[in-house]
Symmetry: C2
Subunit: 192 residues, 2 copies
DNA sequence: GTCGGATTCGGAATCCGATTCCGCTTTAAG
DNA sequence: CTTAAAGCGGAATCGGATTCCGAATCCGAC
């Protein structure tokens, strides 16, 4: 049974968790992977032990930060991309946002990339992001922007690719987005 | 001046270096990133100090292993891909090989990926690989397999993407290769 | 063949950063 | 206000890369 005996979590603990996560977001965005746990603790004004109580592992902390980023992307996609009636532009806008997030916050990029590709979406945010992608995909298939056999997986492969390309600075990821979306176009209705 | 005072390197040193590199290739391929320097040393039958003399850093060792992989890819591309008269197939074959290398040796994948995207090709191998890509690209533009404005950078973005996708197991990278090459096709001569 | 010094070896010691542990402090509940 | 549970801080521990240095091996000269 779900114990009704559960006491309300201490307010100071909640606050501390929040501070740590917030500070971690900033630090990772600025200096990326090189940030140390002790630094995060000091910057948040708590002891190392406290950081570890809330995020049992460096990896866990990184994942939490990553989820924040995902939430940002999700919010952006909902307000700026979905509303665009041109499906191609909506898709491009969505993918572009992913590239931008990497360009801005240098850190956690690899985490974002890994999470993007994971079939186990961490929590509600991942779930929602997946759903949003599905909706865009459906629209695209319906209005002919995408080939009929385009899959959600395809979209996420491309998203992962954008992540990798921007992270490694391989080239112009904006250009890549165009190429990839062209590749996902319906070949039967080309030529404008 | 290039010091003529340089004595020929000791033969045992050469041999040790070779052993270490060989053993490292195997270990990294089998167990990837988790391999420790001490392990490599033991497996190669030398002391840790020796490993460090030849590869001053774990990172350096990984890069050396990576170069081996690149050499394999280069050799394969030369003998199996270039000779294929169908440029599309040749390109696909080349990219497929990259995906396969990741699927086989689980390790150093991230290193391969990073190196693929680097504008500073490590040594002759990278140089040659770049040249080979350029040749395929040129062929593709000439025979209409690729759009006229396709760049070498595009090809390497795609290569990096294939690495990332196969490494993170985001999805079916073979399918991605098709999509990406479709996107790089000449849009003016579609419809068979 | 063998002598002397340069080069390489081996592996113990060191360094660094993540993670664990535990006595002390603060909060929720009665 | 009292008390036990929930949290806290940070010193100690651990794991693994990297450094150091005396001992062992080569190379080239005689």
């Amino acid at each position: 049974m779900s114990k009704p005996t559960a006491r309300k979590p201490r307010t100071d603990a909640e606050r501390n968790r929040g501070r740590v996560l917030e500070v971690a977001c900033e630090l990772f965005a600025e200096r990326g992977d090189e940030v140390q746990m002790a630094e995060v603790a000091k910057a948040a004004g708590v002891g190392i032990g406290t950081v570890y109580r809330h995020f049992p592992t460096r990896q866990a902390l990184i994942e939490a930060v990553t989820e924040q980023r995902f939430a940002e992307i999700l919010a952006y996609a909902r307000t700026r991309c979905l509303p665009n009636p041109d499906t191609r532009q909506a898709l491009s806008c969505f993918l572009t946002r992913i590239g931008q997030v990497h360009d801005e916050g240098r850190g956690i990029s690899s985490a974002i990339e890994a999470a993007l590709g994971s079939t186990e979406p961490r929590g509600q945010v991942g779930e929602d992001l997946l759903a949003l992608g599905g909706a865009l995909l459906e629209r695209g298939r319906a209005d002919g922007t995408l080939r009929a056999d385009a899959k959600l997986e395809d979209l996420y492969m491309i998203a992962g690719a954008v992540s990798a390309i921007s992270r490694n600075a391989v080239g112009d990821w904006r250009r890549f987005i165009d190429i990839a979306l062209d590749g996902l176009r319906d070949p039967a209705r080309d030529r404008p």
